[in-house]
Symmetry: C2
Amino acid sequence: MLKGNLVVGQSGGPTAAINASLCGVIEGAMASGFDGKILGMVHGIEGLLKENFIDLGEIFADPADREKLVKTPSAYLGSCRKKLAKPEVDPTDYNAAFEVFKKHNIRYFLYIGGNDSMDTVYRLSEYAKKIDYDICIMGVPKTIDNDLNVTDHCPGYGSAAKFIATAIREMARDTRVYDMNSVLIVEIMGRNAGWLAAASALARGEGHPSPELIYLPEAPFKMDEFLEDVDALVKQKKVVIVAISEGIRDENGVYVCESTASGAVDVFGHKYLSGAGKVLENAVRDKLGYKARAVELNVFQRCAAHLASKTDLTESRAVGKAAAEAAISGMTGRMMAYVRESTNPYKLSVAPCDIAEAANIEKMVPREWLNERGNDVTEEFVAYARPLIEGESYPEYEDGLPVHIIRP
Amino acid sequence: MLKGNLVVGQSGGPTAAINASLCGVIEGAMASGFDGKILGMVHGIEGLLKENFIDLGEIFADPADREKLVKTPSAYLGSCRKKLAKPEVDPTDYNAAFEVFKKHNIRYFLYIGGNDSMDTVYRLSEYAKKIDYDICIMGVPKTIDNDLNVTDHCPGYGSAAKFIATAIREMARDTRVYDMNSVLIVEIMGRNAGWLAAASALARGEGHPSPELIYLPEAPFKMDEFLEDVDALVKQKKVVIVAISEGIRDENGVYVCESTASGAVDVFGHKYLSGAGKVLENAVRDKLGYKARAVELNVFQRCAAHLASKTDLTESRAVGKAAAEAAISGMTGRMMAYVRESTNPYKLSVAPCDIAEAANIEKMVPREWLNERGNDVTEEFVAYARPLIEGESYPEYEDGLPVHIIRP
């Protein structure tokens, strides 16, 4: 065991389960007999560079506070969207980071995040080898998008999926309340991978026929077929619920959303999207003459901790714990991942994986998990996703509202 | 006690508590020794005219099913937005309704709904007197808008308020995750009365400063003051959450939302609104240069039964029960309403009120419950609303999703 301190950070978009993983890291370090400090970097790698640390070992000494942490949405430590340049292009941030590591005798580095964050983990671990600095660097996956390679699924996805399926079930009842033709289009996050919109299929069950149609970016969106399908379904059932990924696109790869033309991009060069639902709403109204309404589930789908999946929180906590324990036992440059042992009964284990295989690769919904027409998912997807939303994990309530634990 | 059958219907926009009131009506009838049938009209008054009835006494004989009914969102019986013409203008619907009453020997009529539904109740009860048909007609209030006159608050409002406050609290944590200037604008239902947006104030508490600004239709919206306030707050706190009613308007009464110009109206002649949040988002981005995002809570705020207020469900059930009991004991032409006995400790009773005073009058948030600048609510509002969101009432879950009871 290296003598020194551990630092953990959270990065990228928040989820309802990212603090469960943070709690797992803290508990993994506590359980390992590690005797250094457990530090948290405030706002990810940006906080590291500013030496903005808090002492998590001290703050979360009381197990009751750790339970509150697990049920608090968004990143307790704050997050950032900073992407490190390639060290061969600009080594400034790497030199600065390792200066901080040396100054604070940091020997364990855990980073909880998605694709871009795993890229950071990978580059830092490679750089450590290059400059021969002894440090164990481990990644903990996190993303509601469920698009990380290697791991069976991603911490945070199950809670988002449970929220989406519940929202669809409740909104479908709402829409079905009038005896009239009506189309509700629910726009769900997912730029490239359709995992979140696919989760809408879980809403189905006895007495719950919706959503009637599901469109993901993994299959080209054909407006004429969409209108044909909606028309036939409205004639048959009056009320039709359509779930779509924000990133659906046509056969030429052109996004359905209007705002593509604006060319706006985020700091990672991803196109900023919004409005695919609105486009379909207008198409249904104008071309078919039906009452139509588009609803965006928006940021709420990633922070609705009041409806978190117990399975997700339990697993997210476990993967954080395993990553900390692995780092402390000397492992470096890897991401701790989920391995599905079996689906029926559902059984999961965690295991380290090659971080190069995890970073910068987006895992898509397999095309064979969509039907041929590309307007629904198959039973294979449902069997895969169903266990991930199992169980409820209610937060404490005070004055009628969920209790969160807030960084001092 | 009149010898005959009872019919109950649900009308207007659904809520998370309207089925609790339906359950209360069923239980009130069951408890009163009444020996007729308890019929439900499917899709409100439209179902009545079509003689589309189901036997609720039979369907809900098992108390376990009634518990499921209480926790099922949207109107179990289906709803309608039909507005009866004034009988002196067109008596067709009245004649038809009373033909149905006679044919099915209906002697008790209970209607659960909002402003427009209470208008229907009032007109039917007046018509009954005019044609001298013995029937007891009672209204049960319902609206997330909380804008019914006479009653202290409206069944359904507490659950919507709890959802809104929870969503704001969770989304505020999400927005605050990055160390950067950012403005989140949350658009909340409320065309004329700002009760729902006002409920966002309940999200505040220790460690929860948001929302920073709240705008209701009850005070004129001044764009220059809004931008001034946002700018000062961003400079001070970086992240600012703004809660607005969809129906905010300027000093001349012009709606902030863009779509006013379209002139679209619903069947009651109300202007169809959307987009006030988007207008403010663009203003913040263009005029102040801050990152801004507008989120609409949309239909979800009225059907999120998974997060219902226990207080609301309990009261909604009680007011339905009291209305049925009153009808069966001979009362007619009245609405059963909430009377607040005290706020601290919170104590509520139900009492009949004059339906003419309830119908067609929208109760606004008192101007003195907004601050002088019109950008927040006062402690008086918070004291009024806080008890209404107390307590959780979780539905059963099966396969990770809430169980609803569906009309056969």
